[in-house]
């Protein structure tokens, strides 16, 4: 349904814009119909940038994004609006997604004005209440309130309901539960899983490995703007191949086992690597080739690819 083809995002930074920051470099993956794909990375990995590029909030520097075969990176005007009928996003901070001086319902009325101007008010109310119930909210409890009068979980569900009003096919969920309390997180997560079973495709952006495992079939591991490993979630988690993925699996605090005693390499601020493998500076098994060439993604087993010379040389 959604295909990312070699997309990159370069920012000009420094005084007079002399230096370049490669936020995203040559990322390609796709999301099929009715599939949940986790985009996993830490801060600085470029995952939010990718989400915003898919949502056309940031322009691409190069590459193409196509939705159902149509290149969306250059859409404008009413074509762009049509795109938004099919693709929407929900972000991390529920409170800053709402204009604080207006009531929360305003997000719905904007949708009505822009997309359903001729719909009668009775029909709209029905549609709205159905959407709210579909996300587990009781309409009289949540309508007509200001954002601060609702909890973070309710606000996030509101935004999902807003997306459902448009009958979207694809949702970009950017760290949508990381700012919620532990007890509400799982409810919103379950909601996403329910929606997926009803045909919605989701790009689930997160830094939390256990969430990715819980909800997605496939995962894309991102490090500093590049894809280092991707494939079926289970395969990656059971058998991580890339040194970064291995480090992540070993370092994430888990409730079922304690951290191993392995020493962690702690480095200063990483410099911008333009040539060579993006993980070179922290990689325990890097050799000199890794500093000069950037490995390509290669399929090591079915539905499991990794970008690391230690696997691509094994032939």
């Amino acid at each position: 349904m959604l295909r990312l083809d070699n997309i990159s995002k370069v920012y000009k930074v420094g005084t007079f814009g002399g230096k370049e920051l490669h936020a995203v470099s040559n990322v390609s993956f796709d999301v099929k119909d009715g599939e949940v794909v986790s985009l996993i990375g830490e801060s600085g990995s470029g995952k939010s940038t990718i989400g915003k590029m898919i949502l056309r909030l940031i322009p691409l520097s190069s590459g193409a994004i196509s939705f159902n075969g149509v290149d969306i990176s250059t859409l404008k005007g009413s074509a762009l609006k049509e795109y938004y009928r099919n693709v929407q996003g929900v972000f991390q901070d529920p409170f800053s997604s709402y204009n604080p001086i207006f009531k929360a319902d305003r997000v719905f009325s904007i949708i009505k004005e822009e997309f359903f101007p001729e719909m009668g008010s009775r029909e709209w109310t029905d549609r709205l209440e159905n959407s709210l119930r579909a996300v587990g909210l009781n309409p009289p409890d949540v309508l007509n309130k200001f954002p601060h009068q609702l909890s973070g979980g309710q606000l996030q569900r509101f935004l999902i309901a807003r997306a459902l009003l448009l009958d979207i096919q694809f949702l970009v969920a950017d760290e949508i539960i990381s700012m919620l309390d532990a007890s509400t997180r799982i409810d919103v997560l379950n909601l996403l899983a329910d929606l997926k079973s009803r045909g919605l495709s989701i790009l689930f952006i997160t830094h939390d490995l256990s969430l990715g495992y819980y909800i997605s079939e496939r995962a894309v591991m991102l490090y500093r703007g590049r894809v280092v490993e991707m494939g079926a979630t289970e395969k990656i988690y059971d058998n991580p191949l890339h040194p970064y993925t291995k480090m992540l699996m070993a370092s994430v605090p888990r409730l079922d086992k304690k951290w191993a005693e392995a020493e962690m390499e702690l480095k200063a601020r990483p410099s911008e690597i333009l040539r060579g493998c993006v993980y070179y500076e922290r990689c325990p098994v890097a050799d000199k080739d890794c500093a000069s060439y950037s490995p390509a993604l290669l399929e090591v087993e079915s539905d499991h690819s990794v970008a690391c010379f230690h696997y691509t040389e094994r032939e």
Binding site: E42, S43, S151, G153, D181, A182, S183, T184, R185, I186, D187, L189, N190, A193, H207, D208, L209, S210, L211, Y213, Y214, I215, Y237, M247, L248, M249, S251, V252, P253, R254, L255, D256, K258, W259, M264, L266, K267, A268, R269
Partner: protein, 322 residues
């Protein structure tokens, strides 16, 4: 020796009245114990942490006693607490790594900090350097500006400074939340190292991330809506908790190895009460599947087995019958 807190009650003054953020907290921490303090937002864990060391307006001390190493801490008196801060009790506040003055070199900042406590920087410098080695920071750090350091490095620097004078109790307030996974692990393990080397006698680690506590804490105390719910050794909390809230909370956490398709986890319906006019009795009453009439009375925080404290009438009832 140890920390003893008795009936500590602290409210927040606001225009609309007092927010009853911390209600009658009573617990003990032994020497050498790393206690994790966990709970959701608004549970009072930060209030508890701060009231032990820095109780300033809008926080208002209502009642209670705090004893550290057999000496009473005058937590209600900001002036007198000055003698204890940094030396006997110290805190690594949230966002500390962002609180460093960007125009000061780290070494200068440390010097000023120690100077304000009437300590001689030069005399402490050798020990400071030893500690920097321990956390794997090069001595050059003292000549750098904060912006040259990564998040993890800044956090470690703050940890070193907070623990420099070997306080008996170190409070760490959400020190890992803004860090990358690998740095989180390093910083958390460093906390344990500080305790193992006896730089610090005991610690309170405040966080909402229980899985970090599972890795490093000896015991965990769970709070809900300003009240203490349960305190027990880590393994007990994770695997055999008794308080209904704790049990629901632990079971709602996704773990690697658990898929939605195989086992659907459930959360806790409802949301925590507002503490401006908190409900009478046990504040978890409205969301608790086991609530009954007795719950209109505040349950006492009682030791049901060795080192395992619970505040729940149902649990007490079950124990009495057993």
């Amino acid at each position: 020796m140890s920390l003893q807190v008795e009936n500590l009650t602290v409210y927040y003054q606001t225009l609309r009245g007092d927010v009853q953020a911390l209600e009658s907290a009573t617990f003990t921490i032994q020497d050498g114990e790393i206690m994790g303090l966990a709970g959701e937002s608004g549970c009072g864990k930060t209030t508890l942490g701060h009231s032990l060391i820095y109780l300033k307006p809008p926080m208002r001390f209502i009642k209670g006693h705090v004893t550290l190493d057999n000496e009473e801490l005058p937590v209600w008196d900001m002036e007198r607490m000055n003698d204890f801060r940094f030396k006997k009790i110290s805190i690594i506040p949230q966002y500390a790594m962002n609180a460093m003055n960007p125009t000061r070199k780290i070494g200068k900042m440390a010097e000023e900090l120690l100077g304000s406590r009437k300590m001689d920087f030069r005399a402490i410098l050798p020990e400071l350097k030893r500690r920097l080695d321990l956390v794997k920071l090069s001595h050059d750090v003292l000549n750098m500006y904060p912006i040259e350091l990564s998040g993890g490095m800044k956090q470690r620097m703050v940890m070193v400074l907070s623990a420099l004078l070997n306080p008996s109790l170190l409070i760490a307030d959400e020190i890992t939340s803004a860090l990358d996974v690998s740095t989180q692990k390093a910083v958390a393990e460093m906390l344990v190292e500080f305790r193992d080397r006896e730089f610090v006698k005991s610690m309170i680690v405040i966080t909402h991330d229980i899985s970090i506590l599972y890795q490093i804490a000896d015991s965990i105390m769970i709070m809900y809506a300003g009240q203490l719910a349960e305190k027990a050794p880590t393994d007990v909390i994770i695997h055999s908790a008794r308080h209904p809230y704790t049990k629901l909370l632990i079971s709602s956490l996704p773990k690697v190895g658990v898929k939605y398709a195989e086992k659907r986890l459930t959360g806790i319906a409802g949301s925590p009460p507002l503490l401006l006019h908190p409900p009478v009795g046990c504040r978890f009453r409205d969301r608790c599947p086991l609530a009954f009439d007795q719950c209109l009375e505040v349950p006492p925080f009682v030791e049901i087995e060795k080192d395992h404290f619970v505040a729940c009438w149902k649990v007490l009832e079950e124990n009495a019958q057993a």
